[in-house]
Symmetry: C2
Amino acid sequence: MTEHTATSWFFNERPKDLISETTLTLREHTLPDLLEGEFRVKTHYLSLDATNRVWLSDWDIYMDPVRLGDPMRGFVVGEVTESRNADFPVGSFASGMASWADYVIGDAERFTPFPIDKDLGHAFAVMSIAGPTAHVGLHHVGELQDNETVVVSGAAGAVGLMVCQMAKRRGCRVVGIAGSAEKCQMLTEEFGIDAAINYKTEDVRDALGSACPDGIDLCFENVGGDILDASLVHMRDYGRVVICGLISTYNTKSPTPGPYMFRNIIMRRLTMRGFVILDYMDLMPQVVADLGAWMQAGELRLPLHVVDGLENAVDAVNLLYTGGNTGKVLVRMH
Amino acid sequence: MTEHTATSWFFNERPKDLISETTLTLREHTLPDLLEGEFRVKTHYLSLDATNRVWLSDWDIYMDPVRLGDPMRGFVVGEVTESRNADFPVGSFASGMASWADYVIGDAERFTPFPIDKDLGHAFAVMSIAGPTAHVGLHHVGELQDNETVVVSGAAGAVGLMVCQMAKRRGCRVVGIAGSAEKCQMLTEEFGIDAAINYKTEDVRDALGSACPDGIDLCFENVGGDILDASLVHMRDYGRVVICGLISTYNTKSPTPGPYMFRNIIMRRLTMRGFVILDYMDLMPQVVADLGAWMQAGELRLPLHVVDGLENAVDAVNLLYTGGNTGKVLVRMH
């Protein structure tokens, strides 16, 4: 019966700020027998994403929140070890929305087959998580044009890095905002973006003015708060602001004000759009084809920040909110 | 030489909050002789608009601000009394961007011919000012669809009233927010909107929840601040927020936070767009044709709040910020 046992993180107590080990507790439990159409997945990688914190809030969010007592929700990739679904045979791989667990039960609604790759973690991070969000946000929501000036906050995070590279391949001037000198150096030297601003040591508003002398056409926002305010000052007339994330506001219980330069939505005649990648599943065939082609062309790569062991998942997710990661945070289990 | 003399309001001192008689000072001065292409207009009506206050701020706005020492800028309509432009003959009427003055000099760049109407003030208010802003904001920027739920703040103001009527003629459920019981009664009883909320006596957030049980498809925002926050709570997924004005934030020197429910731009996947009517002059032929047709069909009317005498213009403009007006504020001079 060993294979029917799983270890999962359960939602125990609503967090006041950062997720802690009283927020989530790790527990062994028995998995039920598979129903017709279901399959069991041995989880290789769990993706940790900024929106995880949102799922634990008492806000009215974009999907059902995780309920107290339920397993913590997360994106995983792994190997099918038992199956009652012919499209997901034993030995194949699958990725999908499941839970923070070493074994999960999947079905065709929440999972898709995942091609076996020599670097499973990298392929998962690029093709299933950060790549689609960046691609859809930049091209479909943000309507990126060639040669624009693009500002990316959270630029050394997984989505930010993808956005930077996708904008560069369109000939854009790309300015990234990140939280350390090392991240900034990586962005300009390894990823070839035009300028990087360290928000912990620089005046972001002034630095953006220097880095974007003709103003910003497209702001790809992952952070919110003061960082978004700084970009709003420098938006060009008719610019677009894509709101992908507002990570600076997720770990607070008290109401957080919107940007102080909100009036620039009129003064600069901006279009500001929020999006959630789950709404764009119909675009995935084209998105995955594009991502594959760009990776093959060497235009797209993603550093991984791999944390070993499910028991370290809480520490791992908090890297996102403290800026401790560079690139994609994954927990590796098998 | 009498006809070469004008009386104008001049920008004297930057306002701290409301515009006062130290902000603007009234003074007689000599108008220069007409250049080729120019004409003199005897001003019949001056339009007072919420954005007037923005023009006097030290913000980086959507056009050149009014400079200290210059005449105060404003939209006017009047009769041509002397002309060196064959398209604007003496005795014809013209409207355009000029200044708060009893006589102004116009040219073809800033003025358009205005058809002589039995009710000049009403025609000016509807066709030149509030009508175009409402029409473009609702249909072009907001992409209004039939039978949607539309919330309008500043609903008893000139633009608000136009928006309410335009949305009603498309079969929408229209909910207005205004600042007195009388305004609310007028909105529901005389203009036939579905519900009106008095923000001075009601909890707007709760009241919107009751008035929009299925949520809000389109928020037409003239006010900002708490009022916008209340609407953001109730937006439907993929809703649109048209930012036409943020009048609640114009009379403050200290930085004003954006909406506290800003996160709902992601959670509800909203599109928020600011606009300035001056960007849409190419649409005016169709807009004017539509407005004329809707007025003739009895679908569009606009109460005027007429203040007599240029010397009362400062009091008149402040009606907008204190909520003292219903409908369009005009100063009548001749």
